[in-house]
Symmetry: C2
Subunit: 356 residues, 2 copies
Amino acid sequence: MIARRKTRKVQVAAVSIGGDSPISVQGMTKTRTEDTKATVRQIEELAEVGCEIVRVAVPTRVAARALKKIKAQISLPLVADIHYSPTLALMAIEAGVDKIRINPGNIRKPEAQKKIVLAAKKHKIPIRIGVNSGSVLPRKGLKVMRPAEEQNLAVLMVELVLKAAHFFESLDFGDIVISLKASDPIVTIRAYRLAAMKCDYPFHLGVTATGPAEESMAKSAIGIGTLLAEGIGDTIRVSTTGPPQLEIKTAYDILAALGIRRHSPEIISCPVCGRCEVDLPKIVGEVKEALAHEKRPLKIAVMGCVVNGPGEAAEADLGIACTKDYGFIFKKGEILRRVSENALMNEFLQELRELE
Amino acid sequence: MIARRKTRKVQVAAVSIGGDSPISVQGMTKTRTEDTKATVRQIEELAEVGCEIVRVAVPTRVAARALKKIKAQISLPLVADIHYSPTLALMAIEAGVDKIRINPGNIRKPEAQKKIVLAAKKHKIPIRIGVNSGSVLPRKGLKVMRPAEEQNLAVLMVELVLKAAHFFESLDFGDIVISLKASDPIVTIRAYRLAAMKCDYPFHLGVTATGPAEESMAKSAIGIGTLLAEGIGDTIRVSTTGPPQLEIKTAYDILAALGIRRHSPEIISCPVCGRCEVDLPKIVGEVKEALAHEKRPLKIAVMGCVVNGPGEAAEADLGIACTKDYGFIFKKGEILRRVSENALMNEFLQELRELE
């Protein structure tokens, strides 16, 4: 529904990024990459919850050597995350990864970048040029950023990323994905908006170093969500100091909130107020449980009263509006019938099964 | 830092909305308003976590009669939420509430609206004209909204709200706050953006009927956060089918993510990857615990490696970057010293206490 920014398409094994490709969900392992077994297990867990491209950190030669073994045991496209060391980048490419990410903030030398680009070209894999705000921030730090400084930071990030991209293009290499992550969502939004005006590379969206799981959700949702709502962004990764599965789940929550992609049914439910005469969280819990294995991208409404119920539920494929002792079942905007409280869940499930 | 839309200032007891007032955080009770004791207790709980204006549903005469008793026992400004019944609105105003919210979608008759406006004027309290997408959606429902329909829905919502506002102004009443909540964050964003061009009333932001707690956070963060980042919004309420305290917490997370207001310190922490050689979630947990009663709006960084650590931590008032067996303590962008793992938390706390 949202008109997307036009971008070139880049192939990461079987998954494409950019162009008309669906906006993909990426994850990153939190195991030690050197521990092949734990890493493969976590990648399988991530695939199960919907991760479509997985990245692993490659901080050591042992980790780089583990990539081949990891790659052989997984089905997801594998991305190597490289900082500082061109040698590790070359080892990762030789090991057969499907994409590498380098940070031009810490692999700055053109000669080093050139070696990596030529190797990626030979192996026909794309490179993500991933700049973080940390790479361009003056080491002495910014205490409080004023708008001009936020703007400057975004400009510096975009300059750093495009300088590398132009150099890569001069080597006849264009399989480039770009990221511009800051820990401040406003800086992040500014950087991507600016870059969107200057190139057609697909964008990997994310807000970096967001913080503890709960608090960080708002940062990621605002940063990633605002851009997606403007049609900017081709692949996303939510990052948080929490389980990697939660990152995938939140990524889908963001895509679902904008109606872009659903990985499971959407439940619309009201916040419960003094008008509510039933235990709505309990009913929502039952409905969630009933939908646990439902893969159809349905819109299901569970409303606690008749004030907002019928109106909001009208958008839903199936809905319940509950009042004391009974409820109404709605289907695609039409009231089907009034049902007693005891029979409500069963009748709802019956309707759910029959839904086309 | 964000340039705010210019709005008129409206007074809700001691709390002002609009103009140069801080963006306030509102909550709504989920108890039965008729149950005075439970409602007062919940309002106290909400005040404790930072709620600044509290709303209660008034669906019955018994609820309307409870308002006076509730009001007498609380310190927060009290808002009565009214649907359908002008009588209940008048009773609530007489009971001494500090603001009422009516929905012109279900109190449509000018004669009924006029009585309410005159009563509010007499008692010198403001009115929120709160339109929900449900109030303007055709009862037969929209299955899938295309951009034109989203736009139409937003336009209909704005027309409904402004029609009421203009009528109120014709009665020489201008203490108006506006809300335009849809369950779709994109419709919500469109409606507020459109209204922002057409009036100077302060806006109460929210996304309605967002769904179960976890999933709904993304909707609220995107809807409310995108608008706040554009300078639109004067007071906010997050709504979710979950505990009302969580709504307040999430509201502050959104304000904090944008650097608008903080209710507690901000923790920046990295998502943990294969480079991390310490149990970062554990350290973050310890830091969170140490900060539990900290009210200063500090920015604290807890980073798991030296790759992103020093750069990102440079923004922080105080930071730790951990590597195997030891860590670095940063203060406002400068490395203070390297500390052994065992002493790290103690030295961090010492620095925290000494922070100005």
